[in-house]
Subunit: 124 residues, 2 copies
Amino acid sequence: MWEKKAIETIKSVNLKLTPQRLILIEVLCEIGIKHPNLREVLEKVREYFPTMSFSTLYTNLMLFKGLGLIDLFTFGDETRIEMNMKPHFNVYNGEIRDFCDNEIIKRIEEKVGRKVRFVIVIPE
Amino acid sequence: MWEKKAIETIKSVNLKLTPQRLILIEVLCEIGIKHPNLREVLEKVREYFPTMSFSTLYTNLMLFKGLGLIDLFTFGDETRIEMNMKPHFNVYNGEIRDFCDNEIIKRIEEKVGRKVRFVIVIPE
DNA sequence: GTATCTGCAAACCATTTGCATAGAT
DNA sequence: ATCTATGCAAATGGTTTGCAGATAC
């Protein structure tokens, strides 16, 4: 689903479907939901494509972000992948997990006067 | 209030009240609420104490954090000061602003099953 | 007097960028 | 054929650390 959308989007703006991009798309489907950092994404990509460079990974993640396919956020001094494009909560509990609750999101939006893209919960 | 607490805490663990520390405490009272990054804190400290080094600033912020006097969080690739030690929302709107709403915080805690220290709201 | 503190300067490390070569269409 | 993409390697920039001299107590 997201994979198909990603491929269509890349085609639609006349960019090239390189093997690196196709594998990155696969990997994001596979582990993106876990909010990996860039090193973790690179390691997983290299399982399928050992010569993948960090530079290419980086360039393409920026591209995907620009195309609205993914989002990126900083947590613990590292850039992390956000594949969930719907308003939600990211909670750290050893790993970063998603929670959804439209009612709470709506209340936050009313309180702060802005539309929420997502929320990072820093626990005690 | 916080200033007094900071001084008492430093004394109570037998650390030294150097001019640099006293000025840092003053500066945190003055601009800490605005969640400045470390460079901004250093610039403000240097208005009062021009030879303050980044190293000393850094060491002391880590110390204050260890003593529970302040908190630090990362936003936009930079470390920022958190002086509000009560559960709350940090919302970026050009600058980072605090919002409090215990009811919403309580709902989030119920939803995610953890006590919340604070929440970073990423707007659209 | 002494254990702590400061500040210079170098190290660290996750990005971010420049560019020559390779590749998709 | 052409324009984009890759990957090496160097630059960047915000921290983080080591240590010799200075200072609070």
